[in-house]
Amino acid sequence: MTKNIYLPEMATIQEVIRETHNIMTFRVTLNNPEAMKNFSFKPGQVGQVSSFGTGEATFVINSPPTRMDYLQFSVMRTGEVTSKLHSLKAGDQIGVRAPLGNSFPYEDMKGKDIVFVGGGIGMAPLRTLLLFMLDNRADYGKITLLYGARSPVDMAYSYELQDWLDRDDLDTYLTIDAPYEGWQHKVGLIPNVLLDIAPSPGNSVAITCGPPIMIKFTLQALEKLGFKDEQIVTTLEKRMKCGVGICGRCNIGTSYVCMDGPVFTRAQLRQLPNEL
Protein backbone atom coordinates (compact mmCIF):
# COMPACT_ATOMS: atom_id res chain seq x y z
CA MET A 1 0.00 0.00 0.00
CA THR A 2 1.17 3.49 -0.88
CA LYS A 3 2.41 5.56 2.01
CA ASN A 4 0.14 8.37 3.03
CA ILE A 5 2.38 11.41 2.79
CA TYR A 6 0.05 13.47 4.98
CA LEU A 7 -0.41 11.06 7.85
CA PRO A 8 2.08 11.79 10.62
CA GLU A 9 3.81 9.17 12.71
CA MET A 10 2.70 9.46 16.29
CA ALA A 11 5.48 10.42 18.61
CA THR A 12 6.02 11.06 22.31
CA ILE A 13 7.87 13.98 23.77
CA GLN A 14 10.56 12.53 26.01
CA GLU A 15 12.12 15.71 27.23
CA VAL A 16 11.52 19.42 26.98
CA ILE A 17 14.41 21.84 27.34
CA ARG A 18 13.85 25.53 27.70
CA GLU A 19 16.66 27.11 25.73
CA THR A 20 15.81 30.80 25.84
CA HIS A 21 12.78 32.93 26.56
CA ASN A 22 11.30 32.00 23.19
CA ILE A 23 13.06 28.81 22.16
CA MET A 24 12.30 25.34 23.45
CA THR A 25 13.85 22.06 22.43
CA PHE A 26 11.84 18.85 22.21
CA ARG A 27 13.34 15.40 22.23
CA VAL A 28 10.88 12.95 20.77
CA THR A 29 10.64 9.29 19.89
CA LEU A 30 8.26 7.69 17.45
CA ASN A 31 5.65 5.56 19.19
CA ASN A 32 6.07 2.69 16.79
CA PRO A 33 9.38 1.07 17.86
CA GLU A 34 9.77 -0.43 14.42
CA ALA A 35 9.42 2.96 12.78
CA MET A 36 11.87 4.48 15.25
CA LYS A 37 14.38 1.75 14.58
CA ASN A 38 14.10 2.12 10.83
CA PHE A 39 14.02 5.88 10.86
CA SER A 40 16.83 7.33 8.85
CA PHE A 41 17.63 10.82 7.72
CA LYS A 42 20.48 13.00 6.63
CA PRO A 43 21.77 16.08 8.38
CA GLY A 44 19.82 19.13 7.33
CA GLN A 45 16.56 17.35 6.60
CA VAL A 46 13.44 18.72 8.22
CA GLY A 47 10.28 17.38 9.73
CA GLN A 48 6.70 18.59 9.98
CA VAL A 49 5.75 18.52 13.62
CA SER A 50 2.03 18.34 14.42
CA SER A 51 0.10 19.41 17.37
CA PHE A 52 -3.22 17.85 16.45
CA GLY A 53 -5.93 20.45 16.54
CA THR A 54 -3.55 23.30 15.96
CA GLY A 55 -1.53 22.32 12.93
CA GLU A 56 1.89 21.57 11.62
CA ALA A 57 5.10 23.53 11.45
CA THR A 58 8.46 22.78 9.91
CA PHE A 59 11.62 22.29 11.95
CA VAL A 60 15.01 20.89 11.14
CA ILE A 61 15.90 17.68 12.92
CA ASN A 62 18.78 19.06 14.89
CA SER A 63 20.05 15.87 16.45
CA PRO A 64 22.50 14.07 14.18
CA PRO A 65 21.70 10.80 12.39
CA THR A 66 24.53 9.30 14.36
CA ARG A 67 22.62 9.63 17.62
CA MET A 68 19.26 7.99 17.25
CA ASP A 69 18.02 7.80 20.86
CA TYR A 70 15.61 10.53 19.98
CA LEU A 71 14.86 13.14 17.34
CA GLN A 72 15.40 16.70 18.46
CA PHE A 73 13.55 19.79 17.30
CA SER A 74 14.10 23.33 18.51
CA VAL A 75 11.08 25.57 18.33
CA MET A 76 11.06 29.33 18.42
CA ARG A 77 7.71 30.77 19.42
CA THR A 78 6.31 32.85 16.56
CA GLY A 79 2.79 31.76 15.73
CA GLU A 80 -0.10 29.52 16.64
CA VAL A 81 1.56 26.13 16.25
CA THR A 82 4.83 27.08 17.92
CA SER A 83 2.92 28.63 20.84
CA LYS A 84 0.97 25.44 21.22
CA LEU A 85 4.11 23.32 21.07
CA HIS A 86 5.62 25.47 23.79
CA SER A 87 2.78 24.45 26.10
CA LEU A 88 3.58 20.75 25.75
CA LYS A 89 5.32 18.66 28.32
CA ALA A 90 7.18 15.38 28.48
CA GLY A 91 4.79 12.53 27.80
CA ASP A 92 2.60 14.55 25.46
CA GLN A 93 1.81 13.24 22.02
CA ILE A 94 2.71 14.91 18.77
CA GLY A 95 2.85 13.92 15.13
CA VAL A 96 5.96 13.86 12.99
CA ARG A 97 6.29 13.71 9.23
CA ALA A 98 9.96 13.29 8.50
CA PRO A 99 12.41 13.33 6.95
CA LEU A 100 11.53 15.90 4.34
CA GLY A 101 13.65 18.00 2.01
CA ASN A 102 17.27 17.75 1.03
CA SER A 103 20.30 17.68 3.28
CA PHE A 104 23.65 19.34 3.63
CA PRO A 105 26.08 18.07 0.99
CA TYR A 106 28.10 16.39 3.73
CA GLU A 107 29.59 13.84 1.31
CA ASP A 108 31.05 16.60 -0.82
CA MET A 109 32.47 18.23 2.29
CA LYS A 110 34.64 15.27 3.21
CA GLY A 111 38.28 16.19 3.52
CA LYS A 112 37.50 19.86 3.66
CA ASP A 113 37.85 22.48 6.36
CA ILE A 114 34.46 23.44 7.67
CA VAL A 115 33.38 26.85 8.92
CA PHE A 116 30.03 27.04 10.71
CA VAL A 117 28.52 30.46 11.21
CA GLY A 118 25.28 30.41 13.18
CA GLY A 119 23.09 33.14 14.59
CA GLY A 120 20.29 32.66 17.13
CA ILE A 121 17.87 29.85 16.26
CA GLY A 122 19.96 29.40 13.08
CA MET A 123 22.25 27.28 15.22
CA ALA A 124 19.69 24.46 15.08
CA PRO A 125 20.41 23.23 11.52
CA LEU A 126 24.13 23.70 12.07
CA ARG A 127 24.01 21.61 15.21
CA THR A 128 22.92 18.47 13.40
CA LEU A 129 25.75 18.73 10.88
CA LEU A 130 28.30 19.77 13.48
CA LEU A 131 27.55 16.79 15.69
CA PHE A 132 27.44 14.50 12.68
CA MET A 133 30.90 15.67 11.67
CA LEU A 134 32.24 15.38 15.19
CA ASP A 135 30.93 11.82 15.22
CA ASN A 136 32.76 11.23 11.93
CA ARG A 137 35.65 13.46 12.84
CA ALA A 138 38.25 11.76 10.69
CA ASP A 139 36.37 12.54 7.52
CA TYR A 140 36.75 16.28 7.86
CA GLY A 141 39.56 18.82 8.15
CA LYS A 142 39.66 21.67 10.55
CA ILE A 143 36.24 22.60 11.96
CA THR A 144 35.51 26.11 13.13
CA LEU A 145 32.27 27.20 14.78
CA LEU A 146 31.21 30.79 15.22
CA TYR A 147 27.94 31.07 17.11
CA GLY A 148 26.38 34.38 17.99
CA ALA A 149 23.28 35.56 19.76
CA ARG A 150 21.93 38.85 20.96
CA SER A 151 23.01 38.17 24.55
CA PRO A 152 24.09 35.16 26.64
CA VAL A 153 20.49 34.45 27.64
CA ASP A 154 19.47 34.25 23.98
CA MET A 155 21.98 31.52 23.31
CA ALA A 156 20.45 28.10 22.72
CA TYR A 157 22.26 24.87 23.63
CA SER A 158 24.09 26.71 26.39
CA TYR A 159 24.56 23.39 28.19
CA GLU A 160 26.62 22.05 25.28
CA LEU A 161 28.72 25.08 24.59
CA GLN A 162 31.36 24.33 27.21
CA ASP A 163 31.88 20.89 25.70
CA TRP A 164 32.42 22.42 22.33
CA LEU A 165 34.79 25.04 23.70
CA ASP A 166 36.77 22.35 25.47
CA ARG A 167 37.25 20.12 22.46
CA ASP A 168 40.63 20.12 20.79
CA ASP A 169 39.24 19.13 17.43
CA LEU A 170 36.84 22.06 17.22
CA ASP A 171 37.57 25.79 17.26
CA THR A 172 34.59 27.39 18.91
CA TYR A 173 33.95 31.11 19.05
CA LEU A 174 30.97 32.59 20.80
CA THR A 175 29.85 36.15 20.41
CA ILE A 176 27.11 38.44 21.63
CA ASP A 177 25.97 41.76 20.27
CA ALA A 178 26.77 43.95 23.26
CA PRO A 179 28.91 43.64 26.40
CA TYR A 180 27.31 41.64 29.21
CA GLU A 181 28.51 41.20 32.74
CA GLY A 182 30.49 38.01 33.22
CA TRP A 183 30.73 37.24 29.49
CA GLN A 184 34.16 35.91 28.69
CA HIS A 185 33.89 35.46 24.97
CA LYS A 186 33.70 37.73 22.00
CA VAL A 187 31.50 40.76 21.74
CA GLY A 188 30.38 42.02 18.35
CA LEU A 189 28.13 41.26 15.41
CA ILE A 190 28.69 37.90 13.78
CA PRO A 191 29.97 39.21 10.41
CA ASN A 192 32.53 41.43 12.14
CA VAL A 193 33.72 38.65 14.42
CA LEU A 194 33.93 36.41 11.39
CA LEU A 195 36.22 38.91 9.70
CA ASP A 196 38.36 38.94 12.86
CA ILE A 197 38.66 35.17 12.97
CA ALA A 198 39.26 35.24 9.24
CA PRO A 199 39.05 31.53 8.39
CA SER A 200 40.96 30.68 5.27
CA PRO A 201 38.80 29.96 2.23
CA GLY A 202 41.41 27.62 0.77
CA ASN A 203 39.93 24.14 1.05
CA SER A 204 36.93 25.25 3.06
CA VAL A 205 33.18 25.19 3.05
CA ALA A 206 31.23 27.73 5.04
CA ILE A 207 27.81 26.82 6.33
CA THR A 208 25.77 29.69 7.65
CA CYS A 209 22.32 29.98 9.08
CA GLY A 210 20.48 32.67 11.01
CA PRO A 211 18.15 35.61 10.69
CA PRO A 212 17.96 37.23 7.22
CA ILE A 213 19.85 40.36 8.17
CA MET A 214 22.71 38.36 9.67
CA ILE A 215 22.86 36.11 6.60
CA LYS A 216 23.05 39.11 4.35
CA PHE A 217 26.12 40.55 6.06
CA THR A 218 27.70 37.18 6.74
CA LEU A 219 27.60 36.40 3.04
CA GLN A 220 29.30 39.72 2.38
CA ALA A 221 31.93 38.94 4.98
CA LEU A 222 32.56 35.48 3.52
CA GLU A 223 32.91 37.02 0.10
CA LYS A 224 35.42 39.48 1.51
CA LEU A 225 37.35 36.59 3.00
CA GLY A 226 37.52 34.99 -0.43
CA PHE A 227 34.85 32.29 -0.17
CA LYS A 228 33.39 31.48 -3.56
CA ASP A 229 29.66 30.98 -4.08
CA GLU A 230 30.12 27.22 -4.35
CA GLN A 231 31.86 27.20 -0.97
CA ILE A 232 28.96 28.75 0.88
CA VAL A 233 25.98 26.74 2.04
CA THR A 234 22.88 28.07 3.75
CA THR A 235 19.30 27.06 4.46
CA LEU A 236 16.05 28.77 3.54
CA GLU A 237 12.78 29.05 5.36
CA LYS A 238 9.33 29.44 3.81
CA ARG A 239 5.80 28.91 4.90
CA MET A 240 5.12 25.26 4.21
CA LYS A 241 2.04 23.12 4.45
CA CYS A 242 2.40 19.82 2.61
CA GLY A 243 6.18 19.57 2.81
CA VAL A 244 6.24 17.46 -0.34
CA GLY A 245 6.13 20.00 -3.14
CA ILE A 246 2.41 19.89 -3.87
CA CYS A 247 0.56 22.59 -2.00
CA GLY A 248 2.25 25.33 -3.96
CA ARG A 249 3.40 28.02 -1.57
CA CYS A 250 7.11 27.55 -0.92
CA ASN A 251 8.41 27.74 -4.46
CA ILE A 252 10.91 30.26 -5.64
CA GLY A 253 10.41 30.01 -9.36
CA THR A 254 10.87 26.34 -10.16
CA SER A 255 12.46 25.36 -6.86
CA TYR A 256 10.36 24.12 -3.98
CA VAL A 257 12.06 24.89 -0.69
CA CYS A 258 10.36 21.93 0.98
CA MET A 259 11.65 19.43 -1.56
CA ASP A 260 14.59 20.99 -3.37
CA GLY A 261 15.70 22.74 -0.19
CA PRO A 262 16.00 23.83 2.48
CA VAL A 263 19.75 23.58 1.86
CA PHE A 264 21.16 25.63 -0.98
CA THR A 265 24.64 26.72 -1.91
CA ARG A 266 25.07 30.36 -2.61
CA ALA A 267 25.72 29.44 -6.22
CA GLN A 268 22.34 27.72 -6.38
CA LEU A 269 20.64 30.68 -4.75
CA ARG A 270 22.00 32.97 -7.40
CA GLN A 271 20.24 30.84 -9.99
CA LEU A 272 16.88 31.31 -8.32
CA PRO A 273 14.65 34.26 -9.05
CA ASN A 274 14.78 36.93 -6.42
CA GLU A 275 11.89 36.10 -4.09
CA LEU A 276 13.04 35.30 -0.59
Partner: protein
Protein backbone atom coordinates in the same frame (compact mmCIF):
# COMPACT_ATOMS: atom_id res chain seq x y z
CA UNK B 1 -9.15 -0.06 -30.63
CA UNK B 2 -11.53 2.44 -29.17
CA UNK B 3 -15.11 1.54 -28.79
CA UNK B 4 -17.43 3.83 -30.73
CA UNK B 5 -21.07 4.12 -29.85
CA UNK B 6 -23.88 6.46 -30.67
CA UNK B 7 -26.56 7.78 -28.39
CA UNK B 8 -29.64 9.72 -29.34
CA UNK B 9 -30.13 13.02 -27.54
CA UNK B 10 -33.30 11.75 -25.93
CA UNK B 11 -31.51 8.75 -24.49
CA UNK B 12 -28.88 10.73 -22.64
CA UNK B 13 -30.86 11.06 -19.45
CA UNK B 14 -31.98 7.45 -19.31
CA UNK B 15 -28.41 6.40 -19.92
CA UNK B 16 -27.16 8.58 -17.08
CA UNK B 17 -29.89 7.14 -14.88
CA UNK B 18 -28.52 3.70 -15.70
CA UNK B 19 -25.00 4.78 -14.88
CA UNK B 20 -26.22 6.35 -11.65
CA UNK B 21 -27.09 2.91 -10.37
CA UNK B 22 -23.42 2.07 -10.11
CA UNK B 23 -21.72 5.40 -9.87
CA UNK B 24 -22.22 8.84 -8.54
CA UNK B 25 -23.05 10.74 -11.68
CA UNK B 26 -22.51 14.43 -12.15
CA UNK B 27 -23.83 16.50 -15.02
CA UNK B 28 -24.08 20.22 -15.68
CA UNK B 29 -27.28 21.81 -14.48
CA UNK B 30 -28.28 25.14 -13.06
CA UNK B 31 -28.02 25.99 -9.41
CA UNK B 32 -29.37 29.52 -9.19
CA UNK B 33 -27.68 31.36 -12.02
CA UNK B 34 -24.58 29.20 -11.88
CA UNK B 35 -24.15 26.23 -14.17
CA UNK B 36 -22.52 23.52 -12.10
CA UNK B 37 -21.69 19.86 -12.18
CA UNK B 38 -24.37 18.59 -9.88
CA UNK B 39 -25.46 15.13 -8.88
CA UNK B 40 -27.53 13.77 -11.70
CA UNK B 41 -31.22 14.08 -11.14
CA UNK B 42 -33.81 12.94 -13.66
CA UNK B 43 -35.95 15.94 -12.77
CA UNK B 44 -33.20 18.41 -13.50
CA UNK B 45 -32.48 19.79 -16.89
CA UNK B 46 -28.99 18.99 -18.13
CA UNK B 47 -27.36 21.90 -19.94
CA UNK B 48 -24.82 20.92 -22.54
CA UNK B 49 -24.72 23.78 -25.02
CA UNK B 50 -22.58 26.13 -22.97
CA UNK B 51 -19.56 25.94 -20.75
CA UNK B 52 -20.25 25.41 -17.07
CA UNK B 53 -19.47 28.16 -14.57
CA UNK B 54 -17.25 25.78 -12.61
CA UNK B 55 -15.20 22.95 -14.01
CA UNK B 56 -15.89 19.57 -12.41
CA UNK B 57 -12.78 20.04 -10.27
CA UNK B 58 -14.57 19.23 -7.03
CA UNK B 59 -15.33 15.70 -8.14
CA UNK B 60 -11.66 14.76 -7.83
CA UNK B 61 -10.32 17.57 -5.71
CA UNK B 62 -12.97 18.65 -3.24
CA UNK B 63 -13.07 22.20 -2.01
CA UNK B 64 -12.34 20.80 1.41
CA UNK B 65 -11.64 17.26 2.54
CA UNK B 66 -10.53 15.46 5.64
CA UNK B 67 -6.95 14.27 5.53
CA UNK B 68 -6.83 12.98 9.05
CA UNK B 69 -9.43 12.23 11.68
CA UNK B 70 -8.02 12.34 15.14
CA UNK B 71 -9.37 11.40 18.51
CA UNK B 72 -7.92 12.12 21.90
CA UNK B 73 -8.38 9.56 24.60
CA UNK B 74 -7.30 9.65 28.19
CA UNK B 75 -5.70 7.02 30.28
CA UNK B 76 -8.30 6.53 33.03
CA UNK B 77 -5.48 5.91 35.52
CA UNK B 78 -3.74 9.13 34.64
CA UNK B 79 -5.96 11.69 32.96
CA UNK B 80 -3.03 13.81 31.91
CA UNK B 81 -1.77 10.99 29.72
CA UNK B 82 -3.61 11.64 26.49
CA UNK B 83 -3.37 9.32 23.55
CA UNK B 84 -4.06 10.47 20.05
CA UNK B 85 -5.47 8.23 17.44
CA UNK B 86 -4.95 9.70 13.99
CA UNK B 87 -6.32 7.98 10.95
CA UNK B 88 -6.83 8.73 7.32
CA UNK B 89 -10.23 8.78 5.70
CA UNK B 90 -10.05 7.67 2.12
CA UNK B 91 -12.87 8.32 -0.29
CA UNK B 92 -14.74 5.36 -1.65
CA UNK B 93 -16.99 4.62 -4.58
CA UNK B 94 -16.82 5.62 -8.19
CA UNK B 95 -17.94 8.70 -10.01
CA UNK B 96 -18.88 9.50 -13.56
CA UNK B 97 -18.79 13.07 -14.77
CA UNK B 98 -20.86 13.67 -17.84
CA UNK B 99 -20.51 16.76 -19.98
CA UNK B 100 -17.07 17.90 -18.92
CA UNK B 101 -15.18 19.74 -21.63
CA UNK B 102 -11.81 18.73 -23.03
CA UNK B 103 -10.17 21.56 -21.11
CA UNK B 104 -11.87 20.45 -17.88
CA UNK B 105 -10.70 16.88 -18.15
CA UNK B 106 -7.26 17.84 -19.34
CA UNK B 107 -6.89 19.99 -16.24
CA UNK B 108 -6.49 16.88 -14.12
CA UNK B 109 -3.44 15.83 -16.09
CA UNK B 110 -1.79 18.95 -14.65
CA UNK B 111 -2.62 17.61 -11.22
CA UNK B 112 -1.38 14.13 -12.08
CA UNK B 113 2.19 15.24 -12.70
CA UNK B 114 2.34 16.72 -9.22
CA UNK B 115 0.00 14.57 -7.14
CA UNK B 116 1.02 11.26 -8.63
CA UNK B 117 4.69 11.85 -9.31
CA UNK B 118 7.57 9.46 -8.98
CA UNK B 119 8.50 11.26 -5.76
CA UNK B 120 5.14 11.41 -4.05
CA UNK B 121 1.70 9.95 -4.27
CA UNK B 122 -1.23 11.80 -2.85
CA UNK B 123 -3.44 8.87 -1.95
CA UNK B 124 -6.56 10.97 -1.47
CA UNK B 125 -6.24 12.41 -4.94
CA UNK B 126 -5.27 9.05 -6.29
CA UNK B 127 -8.34 7.35 -4.84
CA UNK B 128 -10.70 9.80 -6.48
CA UNK B 129 -8.80 10.22 -9.70
CA UNK B 130 -8.74 6.49 -10.27
CA UNK B 131 -12.43 6.16 -9.65
CA UNK B 132 -13.69 9.21 -11.48
CA UNK B 133 -14.51 8.80 -15.13
CA UNK B 134 -15.04 11.66 -17.51
CA UNK B 135 -17.41 11.54 -20.40
CA UNK B 136 -16.18 14.62 -22.10
CA UNK B 137 -18.13 16.62 -24.58
CA UNK B 138 -16.25 18.11 -27.49
CA UNK B 139 -16.97 21.81 -27.91
CA UNK B 140 -19.02 23.01 -30.83
CA UNK B 141 -18.98 26.62 -29.77
CA UNK B 142 -15.74 28.41 -29.18
CA UNK B 143 -16.33 31.15 -26.68
CA UNK B 144 -14.62 34.51 -26.60
CA UNK B 145 -12.56 33.47 -23.65
CA UNK B 146 -11.50 30.10 -25.03
CA UNK B 147 -7.85 29.56 -25.90
CA UNK B 148 -7.20 25.86 -25.57
CA UNK B 149 -5.50 25.97 -28.93
CA UNK B 150 -2.78 28.20 -27.46
CA UNK B 151 -1.86 25.61 -24.89
CA UNK B 152 -1.43 22.59 -27.11
CA UNK B 153 -4.98 21.37 -26.95
CA UNK B 154 -8.10 21.61 -29.07
CA UNK B 155 -11.89 21.42 -28.66
CA UNK B 156 -11.92 17.69 -29.30
CA UNK B 157 -8.87 16.84 -27.19
CA UNK B 158 -9.50 13.55 -25.37
CA UNK B 159 -6.53 13.96 -22.98
CA UNK B 160 -7.58 13.18 -19.45
CA UNK B 161 -11.00 11.89 -20.48
CA UNK B 162 -12.38 8.38 -20.45
CA UNK B 163 -14.98 8.86 -23.13
CA UNK B 164 -15.13 11.59 -25.71
CA UNK B 165 -18.60 12.59 -26.85
CA UNK B 166 -18.89 14.45 -30.09
CA UNK B 167 -22.12 16.38 -30.42
CA UNK B 168 -23.96 15.58 -33.62
CA UNK B 169 -27.22 16.99 -34.75
CA UNK B 170 -29.29 14.05 -33.46
CA UNK B 171 -27.17 12.83 -30.62
CA UNK B 172 -23.64 12.13 -29.54
CA UNK B 173 -20.92 9.92 -30.85
CA UNK B 174 -19.27 8.30 -27.86
CA UNK B 175 -15.71 7.22 -28.28
CA UNK B 176 -13.91 5.43 -25.48
CA UNK B 177 -10.55 6.86 -24.55
CA UNK B 178 -9.64 4.63 -21.65
CA UNK B 179 -10.39 1.07 -20.75
CA UNK B 180 -12.59 2.16 -17.92
CA UNK B 181 -14.35 4.43 -20.35
CA UNK B 182 -14.99 1.56 -22.63
CA UNK B 183 -16.83 -0.25 -19.86
CA UNK B 184 -19.24 2.63 -19.59
CA UNK B 185 -20.33 2.16 -23.18
CA UNK B 186 -22.16 -1.07 -22.72
CA UNK B 187 -25.70 0.13 -22.37
CA UNK B 188 -28.56 -1.10 -24.49
CA UNK B 189 -29.40 2.51 -25.07
CA UNK B 190 -26.26 2.87 -27.13
CA UNK B 191 -25.86 1.73 -30.67
CA UNK B 192 -22.72 1.02 -32.61
CA UNK B 193 -21.47 4.34 -33.90
CA UNK B 194 -18.60 3.28 -36.15
CA UNK B 195 -20.61 4.23 -39.20
CA UNK B 196 -20.78 7.82 -38.09
CA UNK B 197 -17.15 8.18 -37.18
CA UNK B 198 -16.31 9.95 -40.42
CA UNK B 199 -19.10 12.44 -39.89
CA UNK B 200 -17.85 13.07 -36.36
CA UNK B 201 -14.29 13.56 -37.47
CA UNK B 202 -15.53 16.11 -39.92
CA UNK B 203 -17.32 17.97 -37.19
CA UNK B 204 -14.14 18.01 -35.17
CA UNK B 205 -12.21 19.36 -38.09
CA UNK B 206 -14.81 22.03 -38.63
CA UNK B 207 -14.58 23.12 -35.04
CA UNK B 208 -10.83 23.14 -35.14
CA UNK B 209 -11.02 25.27 -38.24
CA UNK B 210 -13.26 27.78 -36.53
CA UNK B 211 -10.57 28.69 -34.05
CA UNK B 212 -7.88 30.88 -35.31
CA UNK B 213 -5.29 33.19 -33.81
CA UNK B 214 -3.26 30.44 -32.26
CA UNK B 215 -0.38 31.96 -30.40
CA UNK B 216 3.00 30.45 -29.95
CA UNK B 217 3.75 30.38 -26.25
CA UNK B 218 6.98 28.44 -26.46
CA UNK B 219 8.92 31.53 -25.47
CA UNK B 220 6.75 32.11 -22.40
CA UNK B 221 8.89 30.23 -19.83
CA UNK B 222 12.03 32.14 -20.64
CA UNK B 223 10.33 35.46 -21.21
CA UNK B 224 8.44 35.33 -17.95
CA UNK B 225 11.64 34.65 -16.07
CA UNK B 226 13.22 37.55 -17.88
CA UNK B 227 10.64 39.97 -16.52
CA UNK B 228 10.74 38.42 -13.05
CA UNK B 229 12.54 41.34 -11.49
CA UNK B 230 10.70 43.98 -13.44
CA UNK B 231 8.24 44.94 -10.73
CA UNK B 232 6.89 47.83 -12.74
CA UNK B 233 5.72 45.34 -15.35
CA UNK B 234 3.98 43.23 -12.73
CA UNK B 235 2.53 46.18 -10.90
CA UNK B 236 0.95 47.41 -14.10
CA UNK B 237 -0.53 44.09 -15.14
CA UNK B 238 -1.78 43.40 -11.64
CA UNK B 239 -3.11 46.91 -10.93
CA UNK B 240 -6.74 45.91 -11.33
CA UNK B 241 -6.38 42.58 -9.54
CA UNK B 242 -8.51 42.34 -6.40
CA UNK B 243 -6.52 39.44 -4.92
CA UNK B 244 -9.61 37.26 -4.73
CA UNK B 245 -9.63 33.58 -5.54
CA UNK B 246 -12.16 33.46 -8.36
CA UNK B 247 -9.52 32.71 -10.99
CA UNK B 248 -7.77 29.99 -9.03
CA UNK B 249 -10.85 28.28 -7.71
CA UNK B 250 -12.50 28.15 -11.11
CA UNK B 251 -9.32 26.96 -12.77
CA UNK B 252 -9.31 23.27 -13.76
CA UNK B 253 -5.56 23.10 -13.29
CA UNK B 254 -5.00 25.12 -10.13
CA UNK B 255 -4.18 22.66 -7.42
CA UNK B 256 -2.81 24.58 -4.44
CA UNK B 257 -4.20 23.88 -1.03
CA UNK B 258 -4.04 24.71 2.61
CA UNK B 259 -4.00 22.38 5.60
CA UNK B 260 -5.76 23.41 8.78
CA UNK B 261 -6.83 21.64 11.95
CA UNK B 262 -10.18 21.91 13.66
CA UNK B 263 -11.15 20.40 16.97
CA UNK B 264 -14.39 19.83 18.71
CA UNK B 265 -14.06 18.44 22.18
CA UNK B 266 -12.00 15.26 22.11
CA UNK B 267 -12.24 14.91 18.35
CA UNK B 268 -10.71 16.78 15.52
CA UNK B 269 -9.84 16.74 11.90
CA UNK B 270 -7.08 17.89 9.67
CA UNK B 271 -8.57 19.51 6.60
CA UNK B 272 -7.15 20.05 3.20
CA UNK B 273 -8.93 22.90 1.47
CA UNK B 274 -8.44 24.89 -1.69
CA UNK B 275 -6.08 27.74 -1.27
CA UNK B 276 -5.45 30.72 -3.38
CA UNK B 277 -2.03 32.01 -4.35
CA UNK B 278 -3.53 35.46 -4.96
CA UNK B 279 -4.19 35.89 -1.27
CA UNK B 280 -1.60 37.54 0.92
CA UNK B 281 -2.01 34.85 3.56
CA UNK B 282 -0.89 32.16 1.17
CA UNK B 283 2.79 32.75 1.79
CA UNK B 284 2.59 34.85 4.94
CA UNK B 285 4.97 33.47 7.54
CA UNK B 286 4.25 33.38 11.25
CA UNK B 287 6.87 36.07 11.80
CA UNK B 288 4.89 38.42 9.56
CA UNK B 289 7.42 38.20 6.76
CA UNK B 290 5.86 37.64 3.37
CA UNK B 291 7.95 36.71 0.35
CA UNK B 292 5.06 37.74 -1.92
CA UNK B 293 3.84 40.83 -0.17
CA UNK B 294 1.92 42.53 -2.99
CA UNK B 295 -0.60 41.43 -5.57
CA UNK B 296 2.08 42.10 -8.19
CA UNK B 297 4.28 39.42 -6.62
CA UNK B 298 1.38 37.05 -6.37
CA UNK B 299 0.06 37.48 -9.88
CA UNK B 300 3.62 37.05 -11.10
CA UNK B 301 3.76 33.70 -9.33
CA UNK B 302 0.40 32.60 -10.69
CA UNK B 303 1.25 33.44 -14.30
CA UNK B 304 4.84 32.35 -13.80
CA UNK B 305 3.83 29.01 -12.39
CA UNK B 306 1.43 28.20 -15.18
CA UNK B 307 3.45 29.42 -18.11
CA UNK B 308 7.05 29.13 -16.94
CA UNK B 309 7.91 27.11 -13.83
CA UNK B 310 5.54 24.22 -14.43
CA UNK B 311 6.50 23.83 -18.08
CA UNK B 312 10.16 24.01 -17.09
CA UNK B 313 9.73 21.22 -14.56
CA UNK B 314 7.28 19.13 -16.58
CA UNK B 315 8.68 18.87 -20.06
CA UNK B 316 7.21 21.99 -21.50
CA UNK B 317 3.59 21.35 -20.61
CA UNK B 318 1.83 24.60 -19.81
CA UNK B 319 -0.24 24.30 -16.67
CA UNK B 320 -3.22 26.01 -18.21
CA UNK B 321 -5.85 24.33 -20.28
CA UNK B 322 -7.21 27.45 -21.90
CA UNK B 323 -10.77 27.20 -20.59
CA UNK B 324 -10.90 30.96 -20.05
CA UNK B 325 -12.89 30.83 -16.82
CA UNK B 326 -10.36 33.01 -15.05
CA UNK B 327 -11.03 35.68 -17.66
CA UNK B 328 -14.77 35.29 -17.67
CA UNK B 329 -15.18 35.20 -13.93
CA UNK B 330 -12.61 37.76 -12.92
CA UNK B 331 -14.52 40.56 -11.23
CA UNK B 332 -11.98 42.98 -12.62
CA UNK B 333 -11.76 41.51 -16.09
CA UNK B 334 -8.10 40.49 -15.97
CA UNK B 335 -7.14 38.58 -19.11
CA UNK B 336 -4.30 36.15 -18.48
CA UNK B 337 -3.72 35.87 -22.25
CA UNK B 338 -2.88 39.54 -22.37
CA UNK B 339 -0.33 39.21 -19.57
CA UNK B 340 1.45 36.25 -21.13
CA UNK B 341 1.58 37.89 -24.53
CA UNK B 342 2.76 41.12 -23.00
CA UNK B 343 5.59 39.27 -21.26
CA UNK B 344 6.52 37.50 -24.48
CA UNK B 345 6.50 40.77 -26.42
CA UNK B 346 8.27 42.66 -23.70
CA UNK B 347 11.43 44.33 -24.85
CA UNK B 348 13.85 44.91 -21.98
CA UNK B 349 14.81 48.20 -23.62
CA UNK B 350 11.42 49.54 -22.67
CA UNK B 351 12.43 49.36 -19.02
CA UNK B 352 15.17 51.86 -19.51
CA UNK B 353 12.97 54.84 -20.29
Amino acid sequence: MAKVQFIKSADVKPWLAELAKEHRVFAPSYDGEALLFRPFDLEQEIILDRAATMPPKKTVFPQSEKLVDFTYSKDPENLSRVKIDARETLPEGSTVVFGSRPCDARGFTMFDRVYLSDKNTDIYYQARRKNTLFITLACRTIENTCFCNWVDSDPCDPTGSDVLAIPMNDGYLLESVSEQGEKLLNSKLLADGSSRKVEADKICQEIAGSINNTKDLSQAPAKLLAVFDNMQFWEEVSAKCLSCGACTYLCPSCYCFNITDETNGMKGKRLRSWDNCMSAQFTMEASGHNPRPTKAHRLKNRVGHKFSYYPTIHGGVISCCGCGRCIKSCPAGIDIREIVLKAIDFEPAAVEE
